[in-house]
Point group: C2
Chain length 411, copies 2
């Protein structure tokens, strides 16, 4: 494999034309789309129209004439297609933390005779924090599943388990659960499943319906490219639509918001997950960002993600392992998300040195350099060139230079 081979892979890439839908700064190899996706051109246009025409000119009338009232629902319906969900099974508006809180309380209420929430100690921190908080609030217990050392989930399941809340892809290692299989095991034990697909939505051909999961949450600012802090989504399987009882009973989740009744009556369907007013500028950005997937098959996205990460493993094995760097990318495709880590003692300086060269990844404590591969805009040649920059950083000792090792700020 040389650079010409990478160029050839790009030439044959069925998603090649999609890259032009994104703003990509000149001279930058952006491998941090798993943290903040690149700006789709369509978002700029959509925001201009929402601000100038809808808000600025049409003002309050836009709730009707421009469909503001339904915008979270219509956007959710578009997004549903990217995660294998039916059109009326997804809601959006609040942050992942808030969505998780709402659904975790609701899940526990679906199993009132049970007293345990299962989650992983290596979850993204919010997931652990919210599980603990909900347990405290409802008088439940958190049981920690150490999936890394005890991979069979059945070892932590019994008749006490109300809900199992897991991250589909590990935010550090990129390790991915076999969600369909794990969901089936949890259902066999009579518990509710809640998947967090923040680190896979938009890069993996997720099939929420096919998994038969009860609930799911996911963010939109990573592989879905909807901008910093953009609203998260919540999925509810239709079997729970009429009974789901979430605790943040704001007026947008009411069956008839403008009847202005004193007592709460949840809306039918997934809309009962909505709480208060949602930030419509941010939802409009989600809508336009989802439109950047127009005509794109998620199977092609997944295939390219695997090919990009395969290439990363190949190149890193050949060029970085001999220089003392460990590669942390799940080797089995079925357990691989769309990111990879390199582990090395000077990972912080390594990431900073790469950023100076225009290769943008991120650092995660204590020793991980993390890189995300976004099938919609990452090229094979980007992966090839990025690894060559890494070689140069190590060979020149840039990763141990003071300007790169000084930790001024969080990243």
């Amino acid at each position: 494999m040389d650079r010409a081979d990478a160029v050839q892979l790009d030439d044959r890439d069925p998603l090649r034309h999609v890259r032009q839908r994104f703003v990509l700064p000149d001279g930058m190899i952006y491998l941090d789309g798993n943290s903040l996706g690149s700006l789709p051109h369509g978002v700029r246009e959509r925001l201009e129209s929402m601000v100038d025409v809808e808000w600025g000119h049409d003002l309050i009338a836009s709730w009707n004439t421009h469909g503001w009232w339904d915008l979270p629902a219509t956007t959710s319906a578009k997004l549903a297609g990217l995660v294998g969900a039916g059109p009326d099974t997804v809601s959006m508006g609040d942050s992942t933390s808030v969505q998780l809180f709402k659904l975790l309380v609701a899940a526990a209420r679906l199993r009132p005779e049970r007293s345990v929430i299962v989650t992983e100690p290596g979850s993204f921190p919010t997931n652990s924090y919210i599980a603990s908080s909900v347990a405290q609030l409802l008088g439940l217990t958190v049981r920690w599943w150490d999936a890394e050392h005890s991979p069979d989930i059945r070892t932590v399941l019994d008749d006490d388990v109300a809900v199992v809340a897991l991250c589909h892809v590990d935010y550090r290692t990129g390790w991915m659960h076999d969600a369909a299989q794990v969901t089936a095991a949890i259902h066999d034990a009579g518990a509710i499943t809640l998947w967090d697909v923040c680190h896979s939505a938009g890069a993996v051909d997720i099939d929420l319906s096919g998994w038969d999961t009860d609930l799911a949450v996911g963010c939109t600012y990573k592989y879905l490219n909807a901008g910093p802090g953009s609203p998260a989504f919540a999925y509810v399987h239709p079997r729970w639509h009429d009974v789901l009882d979430q605790p943040i009973t704001g007026w947008h989740g009411h069956a008839d918001p403008f009847a202005l009744e004193r007592d709460y009556r949840p809306a039918p369907g997934v809309r009962r997950v909505e709480a208060g007013a949602v930030p419509l500028l941010a939802v409009a950005a989600v809508e336009a960002a989802v439109d950047a997937f127009d005509g794109v098959a998620m199977a092609d996205v997944r295939a390219k993600s695997l090919a990009l990460t395969d290439l990363f493993i190949d190149r890193a094995s050949a060029r970085l392992e001999p220089r003392g760097v460990s590669i942390e990318v799940p080797r089995e495709h079925r357990h691989r998300g769309s990111q990879g880590c390199l582990r090395l003692p000077d990972a912080y300086g390594f990431v900073q040195a790469l950023i100076r060269r225009g290769v943008v990844g991120d650092f995660r404590e204590p020793d991980r350099a993390r890189f995300g591969f976004v099938p919609l805009y990452t090229r094979y040649v980007d992966v090839f060139d990025a690894v060559e920059h890494m070689v140069a950083v190590l060979d020149e000792g840039e990763h141990v230079r003071p300007e790169n090792t000084a930790r001024a700020v969080v990243t």
Copy 2:
């Protein structure tokens, strides 16, 4: 009083120059800024810069280089000045419903030996719904205070009351509580106070510190002009900063978010109210919208609000009462927000007919036509002309024409 007098009032208005900071469509008299504030020009510029430069070009680096991580805090500090709060006492990000939920649970936890939440049956619906939901979650009881018929709050206070959550201004009638006095009465009974200032923030010279309230929430899309569904804020008195225990323990409220610990440790100060990632496009809009108050004294805002509503009462008394319309605007200044209602049997058609004439208010069930007066951009002449349009609607019978009475959609 004739039209020339109104023009003269505008000429002498100390806030006259502020109007040009807003986009105001030609030919429209916009009296619905209490529902959705007009677009400040600065928001357009701020969003362009955030989207094109910060997100589009600088990408993930913007969390540091453009202060994204602190943007909710820096924006909150600016906003604090408009509601009489210290700079490190306000947090922002989630919707009013979510902020209310977080603070109401936290408030009850500050009084664990007490079992009652007091609120008003005539609150905005979300406030009633959330109070009931929190009560259910924590095993508490809601006690409804009918302030209209039993104005002395002491009649509902006793040693069982943990928290009293009230709307500062009634969303229908514009009636405003004497917040300092009511807060003192609640504190005398040993309970926690939580004010919702959605319908007063930006139009009334609110003094959260001076009231000595424990907690408050408010939205930013009404008189603060930050756009549809823009994020709400939460205020926490410094005396609770180190003990406040809110339940949506997302990573942004953690003392050290990037330490990625398994257990939650709340951030010091008001920052512990933050939950997950906040929609930064929407927060940037709040920041720019707050900047539209630059150099504006809230005392001048309040004085103009009262003068505008006085004028509305005068003109409506002279011109509309004789035509069978009742005026619902609190007569006492100390109990008046910045809006007014007219009550008439055909209020829906009346509002629709006015909209056709370019006078935009809104309808609230069952018989209210509601108008908001925004001191930053509403002119005295707007009030004068609006009432003349109302006269014309009634005299021409436009309010009972089928095209105006047909209820196609929610407003």
